[in-house]
Symmetry: C2
Subunit: 151 residues, 2 copies
Amino acid sequence: MEDAIRNFVEQGEAYRWSGVETKTYNAAESQSRGMSKQILFEADENLPSELRYFESEPGGHSALERHHHVHAVLVLRGSGSVMLGDHVRRIRAFDTVYVPPDTWHQFYADADSYLGFLCLVNCDRDRPERASESDIAGLNQIAAIRDVIRF
Amino acid sequence: MEDAIRNFVEQGEAYRWSGVETKTYNAAESQSRGMSKQILFEADENLPSELRYFESEPGGHSALERHHHVHAVLVLRGSGSVMLGDHVRRIRAFDTVYVPPDTWHQFYADADSYLGFLCLVNCDRDRPERASESDIAGLNQIAAIRDVIRF
């Protein structure tokens, strides 16, 4: 029963949990920058979903991607913005974001703030699709997001 | 797309989200005290889980209950304690708690602090079982939890 509880720990500037492994991403392969991931609850036979914590360093961002599965996101710390479809919106701690199926999205930390968010997904899900050159050409036609997206 | 984002709002002392209904409990019927519930993400065809936010006023507590479905909990604010099986443990903001199947559990806010926590559940789940008099007699045999449980 003791391992049922994982204590939150601040490790320097980063948010960490006891007994939870932190994955950092290779920037080139992931098309993200300054991002890390911790799986707070893995899916099991009793819960068909996974709750992950993603953290971006100040100025960092997630990969530009879309997929059929949805994301249910709750910002846990800091501030930044999210590109969702053809919109960009400000987000800050405790705001929630629902990323619908097949919708381009990307999360950005402000230059002077970490952005940490919980992301809930179905355990049974498709792999993310990254933007191709023609996708990017299409996205660049949308004035509201043209200067925001990073890849 | 605009309603994909729900802004966090502090309403007096309480944590609220734009466009999310707050349910408060009748203390006698719920066997809880000072608790409210907000469903941040309802289950849908793409996500078979529900993410709820429960908040207890200072000194309040959830119902003493068990059920076959599991809870994946992340504390969002404040401090308190949790009774889980035959243990009581301190919890504070951002600690996580996994409530296994068929395990008696109860959450308590400290007397001088709100306790707010996210609780992730399978959308397909059994109803909670409340403690009967004989359950309570059994629980009262356990020294570690005898003075803590409330019903």
